[in-house]
Each structure stands twice: as structure tokens, then as C-alpha cells.
Amino acid sequence: MFKFIVRRIIQTIPVIIGVTIIVFSMMHLVPGDPAQIMAGESAPAQQVENIRERLGLNEPLPKQYLSYLGNALLGDLGNSMRSGRAVTDEISARFWVTIELAIYSTILAVFIGLIAGVISATKKYSPQDTIIMLIALFGLSMPNFWLGLMLIQWFSIGIDLPNWFPFINDTSWFKPSGWGSFQQIVLPVITLGTGSAAIIARMTRSSMLEVIGQDYIRTARAKGIKERIVIYRHALKNALIPVVTVVGLQFGGLLGGAVLTETVFAINGMGKLVIDSIAARDFPVVQGTILVIALLFVLVNLFVDITYRLLNKRIDLD
């Protein structure tokens, strides 16, 4: 197992190098002169030249890349064009906000998704199954920014709807913006987690149905153990194997999805940082943030592989 983890970590190195190449190339793939774009169209030639000089844009590309990589390894991702602060400082101020948002959303999605999926699978073709799958389809098809806006509308600004939501009389209890307090966290987490919950529910259902039809489930039943144990100990553990992969991918997706959610709820996370920086043509920040998100994605996948291995004893990669 230890060997496996070490080898899997080594395998991520080429991926990370690839990521840095792509992030580095972004600036050069944008049509036109990056220095001109950053300076703005009407900027004087001298200012454009200064930017070019400062960012080393007149050096040959490989050299630029190597110095970018070298600086990145030392924790220097350049400075923000807007604030002049180090990109790493800009990101670290917002990093945990996005991570928290993604983690809470994943927890919510896994919790709801697994329960819904298991109920659906064990009550196949029943009304509960149909209802759960309809809700899941809805959750899946709905764009999360729209859901976010609707949640703000219903539960935060509150228009004429307090009666059917009896336990909170003050509809402004849920905050429409910001991050930190429980009141601020609830709506964005629901917004971001719903889609994933739906995907996990559907995945769990189909995976459970497949597993329940297996011979070893019949063996377990023939042993006279309680149906609850058959489902949760014998079936779910096997059914989780494909679900774990989906959860991992979803978590990565949530980091991306956070861009919209953070914008809708005015949360100062990495997603909003990307959007604001793109609008301000603040290339170093955009590059840095995307690099961090991509690295997170790689890490999550590493974690998923290890979990997968722990769950599925048949994978023997040592």
C-alpha cells in the first residue's frame, strides 16, 4: 500500500508539469499581444513596453517557461496587475473559502446522494424510487446559478412565501451574500451541492442495483443476516467503488462550479477571484488561480485512487 501511494504520487509529476505548460501557454494563446491586452487598448506604447519588460515577455518562450516554473516552485506566481500584491497572497486570502464551499457541498451531496440512491435501489420501481429519480433529474438539469438565484429569492429576500416554510418566520435569516456564518453558508452549499447530489444518487442507485443482483448478496441473505446489514455491509461497500470515482470527479467539478456560485452569492473565493481578474485582464492572478485549482484537482484524484484501492481489494497495483 505504501509503495502504491509513493508510486501514485510520482505519477502525478508529469501531470503537474503538463498543467504548468498549459497555464503558462494561456497568456500566449490569447489572440493579440499579451502586454497590450494587459495594459488596455488605449495605453501608451511606453507602458506596454514596461509591462513586456517586467513580465519578461521579450525573452524566448522556453526560457520564459523555465523561469515561470522556477519561480512557481519557489512559491512566486508573480504580482497582481491590479493590486500589485503577490498572486500567492491574493490566492491564499481566498483559498480556504473555496475549499470550504467545495467540501461542505461535497459532504451535502454525498450524504443526500447516497441515502437517496440506496432508498431508490432497495425500493426499485416503487413510488419513492420514481419521485427520488425525478427530483434527481431536476437537480441534474438545473443550472446552479439559476438555483442560487431562486434560493435567494425564496429564502433570503423572501417574497410572499413565508407560510409554507413554517419554522423560519424571518425569511432574511438566510443571508444572500458573503461567507463565514452558518446563515451565509447554507444557501451557497445547497446551490453548489444539488447537481452533485443528483449525480451521486443516480450513480449509487445503478451501482446498488447491479450489486444487489450479485451471487454474494444471495449468499449473505442465505446466511440469515438482517436485510439492513445485507444492504449496508455487503451491498453498499461494493456499490461504493464506482461512486467514489464520481465523488472525486464531482469535487473537482465543484471547484470549477464554485466560480458561478461565488459570483451569485458574492463570496470572495478563488472562483470570484478568477472572474474579477479576467474582467480586469489581470493575467498573473488568472494563471495562478487556475494553476492552484488544477493542482487541487490532481490531488483530489490522487486521493480518490487511494480510497478506491482501500475499498476494492482486488486492485493490486503493488
Binding site: Q214, D215, Y216, R218, T219, A220, R221, A222, K223, G224, I225, K226, R233, H234, K237, N238, L311, N312, K313, R314
Partner: protein, 349 residues
């Protein structure tokens, strides 16, 4: 814990007119249709028949593990004198794995890949005998020794994929016998194994049967296995028992034309066969289109109009052997001197 205060009984298992059907949108498929047999205490009954004759459905019916869209629609299954079909689901759970255990055909897929061998065997003890994990582990170890698994301590911590097929079947047997059941149902326990391993597994089942004194229901399609291991035989065809007899009578004097056909299709071990082996022409009827009369009539070389029109009743002779065939009834409309051993397939004598 086991309930030893149940009524007196002679047969460990007695099935009367069991009917198990599968329901599709517009049809009822009778997989088992009016099946009856008995297993005396501590005896082995072999159930033989072709694929699709309802053998496995019978065993799952006894365990009450028939899944939707299947359903037991009629009959009685007396186990130790009590009708299992009258039991509640929680009463059934106390019987499964405790008083009646089952070994399945496919050792490769019948064990849970994510639980260790030890966890899977211990589960029976924890469920039925309310032992602690530690005690259950100790018992599991003893059980592994009993079924002759080398280095049992190591095996407890292994996962099924680390073991061979024969080894896994031994684990299945250890699991099934954990709680010292009164009846063991073995559904083709050796079909998926090598011939040498087959013999080992059958010997093991026989040996443990003697030691633990349980009844065994052995489902197989191998008459050789039946001859070697069983006390009684039920020959199944189309969801019904065609012939039920003690093993000696069945092999020396098979009465049903189907049984005779089965026997004749086995290559003799003491001489070479000149020409082709005898075969039973045709194939098993689909349960969707069961013949109205005798299930075997379309393939029977002796079938008369009566056979095609009316289902024969099961008749019991003075030795307790049973047969479902018009030839042995007073209503028989064919040749009264018919000899079922004389011909096997239409047209050959």
C-alpha cells in the same frame, strides 16, 4: 439460538405440492409446479434434472429466497415438522444459515469481494449465536480447520480473490456449516470445479454430514455424483418430480422413461460403445409453453394420447418410491406389456 423444542418429526424436510411461479406482464411461468419430496433425518437426497427443470428454484424456495418477480404460490414445505411457508420473514432469518444452510454453484462469485474470509464466516456466529467478534473469529478458525484448509490462520485475513476455486468452495462450506445446521442444501456445489477438486469437496460434504448428522439436499445434474453420495434421488423434469426412489432402486430398476433415458445416455464405464450413445431426443420444454399432459410426453418414446392430454398423478408404491407416469397406472391405454427399458427414442427398438 436454536429452538430444540419443536415437535417430533420423522423427515427433516417434507415438501408437498410446491408451486413457484414467475410473473411477467402477461404470463405466469410455472418454474416449479406441484413438486413433492421428502428427506429423512440425516439422509442425502439427490435432485437431478436438466437445466431449467426447476432444481435451483426448488432450493431457493426452501430458503424462501425467491426474488421478485418470482413467488411461491402454493404448497407446503415442512422443515422439522413446521411449515416454512407459514413463517414470518424474521422467523425465516433465524432459520437461514442456522438450521438450513446453502452452498451455491459458483464459488467464484458467491463470496463478497470486499470482506475477508474471517469476516464472512464470523458473521454467521455473530448473527445466530450472538458471539463476540473475538469468539466468532476463534470459531471461524476451527471451522476452517474442519473443512481442511491449509494454514487457516492466514486465510482468515485473506480476501476471496486471493484463493482458488476449490478453496473458496471450502470456505462456502465452512460458512454454511458454521452454525451446525440440520439441513444443508448444496446447489451444484462442484459444477464449477475441476474433477479432482470435485471429489474432494463431495467427500468433505459426506464426511461432515456423518460427523454433524445433518440432512443434505444435493442438487446436481451428474448421475455419477448421485450414485456415489446420495441415499435417495428425485428426478426432476419441467418443474415436477418424475421419479423419487432410494438410490439403489433407481439405478437398478429405473421406472420412468425419462430416468431410463438419462441412464442410457451415460457412457458405460466397463465397455466401449459401438456407434452413438443413446440420447433423449428434443429439449426441455420452455416453462412458458408447458405441455398440457405429461411434461415429458413430447419426448417420450412411449407416449400415448392419454399422456399428451392428461397430467399423470404421482403414485407411491409399497416401498415409498414414487413415480409420475401413466404406464404404471390402471388407466394406461398403451401396450400393457410395455417394457420401458426396451427402447429409448422414437423408432429405435
Amino acid at each position: 439460538m436454536k429452538n430444540n423444542t419443536s415437535k417430533e418429526y420423522e423427515n427433516i424436510l417434507e415438501i408437498n405440492h410446491l408451486q413457484t411461479s414467475f410473473f411477467t406482464k402477461n404470463a405466469e411461468i410455472k418454474a416449479v409446479d406441484g413438486l413433492s419430496f421428502t428427506i429423512p433425518k440425516k439422509k442425502t437426497l439427490g435432485v437431478v434434472g436438466e437445466s431449467g427443470s426447476g432444481k435451483s428454484i426448488t432450493s431457493l424456495s426452501i430458503m424462501r429466497l425467491i426474488d421478485n418477480p418470482g413467488k411461491i404460490v402454493g404448497g407446503e414445505i415442512y422443515f422439522k415438522g413446521e411449515d416454512l411457508l407459514q413463517k414470518s420473514e424474521s422467523e425465516m432469518r433465524k432459520i437461514r444459515g442456522n438450521e438450513i444452510s446453502m452452498i451455491f454453484q459458483e464459488p467464484m462469485t458467491s463470496l463478497n469481494p470486499t470482506l475477508t474470509v474471517g469476516q464472512q464466516i464470523s458473521e454467521s456466529y455473530i448473527t445466530h449465536q450472538e458471539l463476540s467478534k473475538k469468539e466468532a473469529k476463534q470459531k471461524s478458525l476451527e471451522m476452517l480447520k474442519l473443512v481442511g484448509i491449509p494454514s487457516p490462520k492466514k486465510r482468515l485475513k485473506q480476501y476471496p480473490h486471493e484463493l482458488s476455486g476449490g478453496m473458496r468452495q471450502r470456505i462456502m462450506i465452512a460458512m454454511a456449516l458454521a452454525c451446525d445446521p440440520d439441513l444443508l442444501i448444496a446447489d451444484e456445489p462442484t459444477t464449477a470445479l475441476d474433477v479432482t477438486i470435485q471429489a474432494q469437496i463431495l467427500d468433505l460434504i459426506n464426511e461432515l454430514q456423518d460427523r454433524l448428522g445433518m440432512g443434505v439436499l444435493l442438487i446436481t445434474h451428474d448421475l455419477g455424483i448421485v450414485a456415489e453420495t446420495c441415499d435417495y434421488v428425485a428426478v426432476m423434469y419441467g418443474g415436477q418430480v418424475m421419479e423419487f426412489a432410494d438410490v439403489k432402486s433407481l439405478f437398478t430398476h429405473p421406472k420412468h422413461p425419462y430416468t431410463v433415458g438419462l441412464m442410457k445416455s451415460i457412457p458405460p464405464h466397463d465397455r466401449d460403445v459401438e456407434g452413438d450413445l443413446d440420447v433423449i431426443k428434443g429439449s426441455v420444454p420452455s416453462p412458458v409453453e408447458m405441455p398440457n399432459g405429461c411434461r415429458f410426453a413430447p419426448r417420450c418414446p412411449f407416449a400415448t394420447d392419454l399422456c399428451h392430454q392428461k397430467l399423470p398423478n404421482i403414485e407411491t408404491d409399497s416401498y415409498g418410491n414414487q413415480i409420475r407416469c401413466w404406464i404404471y397406472s390402471d388407466e394406461w391405454d398403451g401396450d400393457p406389456e410395455v417394457n420401458v427399458h426396451a427402447k429409448t427414442t422414437e423408432g429405435t427398438t
